[in-house]
Amino acid sequence: MARTDANPPMPEWSTEYQLVEVDHEYLTKAVKPKQFIHIDQSECIMCEGCVDICPWKCIHMVTPDAIAEATGTEQPGMDPSDNVIFLIDDDVCTRCALCVDRCPTGVIILGKAGAPAAEGDSHTRTNNHGYAYGMRL
């Protein structure tokens, strides 16, 4: 298959991920663009709109079984209420934010990586933090 823009090669995915918790410094060092997609699970309806619209197919919804091992963090799937996981290939993602606009419940945000607030990530959209309901702020 010819490598054209209409038919981008899929990023490689694994079924035996080793999950490791890292800090924001690692992430900003590992990936060039400084913005990162985040999905708030509590309002995700698993419509796969983001998976569908991504021009690079770099978001994937898979079963928690794909993660074979977790170090320093809870293994997804240990808790029986863990339903699906979303993965992203940050090297392929171009930050086009189509998924942010596509998400019907508006739970995908494009924000900067950084140290969390003392009380944890608020998971809210603010004027300088991502998008709100398909509208750029």
Binding site: M1, N7, M10, P11, E12, W13, S14, Y17, Q18, L19, V20, E21, V22, D23, H24, Y26, L27, K29, A30, V31, F36, I37, H38, I39, D40, Q41, S42, E43, C44, I45, M46, H60, V62, T63, A66, I67, T71, T73, E74, P76, M78, D79, P80, S81, D82, N83, V84, I85, F86, L87, I88, D89, D90, V92, T105, A113, P116, G120, D121, H123
Partner: protein, 233 residues
């Protein structure tokens, strides 16, 4: 394998027990539904405090680009079934039909065409001489793949053998995906359907064999070892 910390095992065990109890409790569980979700959200907030990378660990920290293909892949989120919509179907790891399936199918079609082209070139299959109604062949047999049907015609009225029975078979084939809801593709889970298909194949094979080798002049029953074989491929 890495040791799973004791408190995580305990938490998963407790959640499992709660899930099992919730099924039995039913209406009782409805009361503390919202607090559950709030708990989940709080937990997600604390879990998401630091970025989580799906990549291979190595001694003394995580190497950059440790994911498949040397990429940095990240766990975006773990969606709980207690989110605002229940999952209708089990999620599967899937790829797109185009080009992953259709390219393969197109190549398969090309290969079949090439095989048929070469096969018909090599194997000679001429037509017989023009039909002479003063000299009709006896027995007059259909091609071998229709001999099961022809054998069926000796047993029933043509309406039954030629229309009703094949029609019922076709309708059963159309209904097969709705009647057989077993999604497993392991033979040991499909005993009923395997036996149904085996019975059909045996039934049809016996009819075809009788029609091919045990029918002589006048389509009367013969034994091939006594009267010879009345069969042409």
């Amino acid at each position: 394998m890495t040791e799973i910390p004791e408190h995580l095992l305990k938490r998963a065990q407790a959640a499992r027990e709660k899930a099992a109890g919730g099924d039995a409790g039913g209406a009782q569980a409805g009361g503390d539904r919202i607090p559950d979700q709030l708990l989940d959200r709080t937990k997600a907030a604390s879990d998401g405090a630091a970025a989580v990378v799906a990549s291979a660990p190595a001694g003394g920290g995580v190497p950059v680009g440790a994911g498949p293909g040397g990429h940095t892949q990240r766990l975006l989120t773990v969606v709980k079934s207690g989110s605002i919509q229940e999952a209708k179907a089990a999620p599967v790891d899937k790829v797109h039909t185009w080009p992953h399936l259709l390219a393969v199918e197109f190549v398969a079609a090309l290969a079949c065409t090439a095989f048929l082209f070469v096969f018909s070139w090599v194997v000679n299959a001429p037509l017989l001489q023009a039909a002479d109604f003063n000299k009709t062949p006896n027995p007059s047999k259909a091609p071998w793949y229709f001999l099961g049907l022809q054998e069926l015609l000796t047993m029933f009225h043509p309406m039954i053998a030629g229309v009703t029975l094949p029609g019922m078979g076709l309708i059963a084939l159309i209904l097969a995906p709705y009647l057989d809801r077993n999604a497993s593709n392991k033979p040991e889970d499909r005993k009923f359907m395997t036996s149904m298909m085996t019975m059909f194949l045996m039934f049809w094979a016996v009819l075809t064999i009788i029609g091919s080798f045990f029918r002589g002049p006048g389509f009367n029953f013969t034994f091939p070892w006594r009267d010879g074989i009345f069969f042409e491929l």
